[in-house]
Symmetry: C2
Subunit: 202 residues, 2 copies
DNA sequence: GTCTATAGGCTGATAGAC
DNA sequence: GTCTATCAGCCTATAGAC
């Protein structure tokens, strides 16, 4: 389903994805018409249907693509890492990965409700898998006595909300660099989990 | 503009607000039709225009109403308080106020982009005023040496994101009571600002 | 104040020429 | 693979009867 490219105009599908991503992020899925996506791509509306059977499939394709790329990047990070991977590494990874993909980040938590039931369930499973990473880190840190947390579930959700909140205010030309934002966020998360030594143990 | 009720069927406008609030929160503004709002209210679509000149005005009315009620509730809290009001009080107020109004909370941060420019600016001003409350508390806490914060702006935004994230997971029939969630959140925020004494100084 | 009816326009999706 | 043309339906908003 979707991702079935044509033969000669093979980059049209990529330009359609880019146009849809931009418009969905800016206007919201329901407010964007197939004609608008086509116009931004430089084709007629009918041409879209060579690549995507429905408008819903475009959204689903974008969200699946984002979640798969995110999971792949995390596994690659794990593979390349020599030391043990800690919560601070997850925070750094998450911030770094999403700050250069603000539109993907935005639609993948704003447009979940625009998904039809089956599609929604599949994306939700992806998300659960990803969010299990910090959750397990927190639970293991608690078990080891390295973290001091009042409620693991709420703390995990609070951290995820804090990280995702980046989308609502981050601007590329803002006061702080990506690295500075990472540092502040790692410090905040470190405190939230009550890490025994503020920098070293997270 | 809006809020101009009729004469005899005076509660129709309130039922329209309730229907629109429910539908906007569940489906998103752009995905909801005037017919759907009317059907949920038990009137015909044309009848809506006795109360709201456009669909946009319904959304704006809901958002203004929410922000005004929020500001009033905060002032009332200040008025009734005998001791000095601290950051913990803000967190408790915010959580308590919003957890019983999840739909208002949800649309007032999800549907900002559905507002036309002038309306958007007015709501944004409301929000800025409200978010200035924790921001000033943090800055004053830093100045007094009661808080230890790496970056006041980012920390403020992170706290607001964390608080607003409640909408995405809170369920009335969840594991934790409202009071327990308040306690966990106050503890988290307390740690984020590096309060000198974990409970006492926030 | 609410109804029915409708104007005028946009929607997602399809058919068939090239 | 893209186009033009079009279907059938839904949209916001308005007009006029009651």
């Amino acid at each position: 389903m979707a991702r079935t490219a044509g033969s000669t105009g093979a980059d049209t599908v990529e330009r359609l994805r880019e146009a849809a991503l931009e418009l969905f992020a800016r206007e919201g899925y329901a407010a964007v018409s197939m004609r608008a996506i086509a116009a931004r791509t430089g084709v007629q509306a009918g041409a879209i249907y060579n690549y995507f059977p429905t408008k819903q499939d475009i959204l689903f394709d974008l969200l699946v693509g984002h979640m798969e790329a995110l999971a792949t990047a995390w596994r690659e990070m794990e593979r390349l890492s020599t030391a043990e991977i800690r919560l601070a590494d997850f925070v750094r990874f998450h911030v770094r990965y999403h700050l250069v993909r603000p539109r993907e980040m935005f639609i993948s938590y704003m447009e979940l409700r625009s998904l039809e039931e089956d599609n929604f369930r599949r994306i939700r499973e992806f998300r659960r898998g990803y969010e299990a990473i910090p959750r397990q880190m927190i639970e293991q840190g608690m078990a080891k006595g390295a973290f001091d947390v009042l409620d693991a579930e709420v703390t995990t959700r609070a951290i995820i909300a804090l990280l995702n909140g980046l989308t609502t205010w981050y601007r590329e030309d803002g006061r702080l660099s990506l690295g500075e934002i990472e540092t502040v966020y790692i410090g905040l998360v470190s405190r939230m989990v009550g890490a025994r030594e503020e920098e070293g143990n997270v």
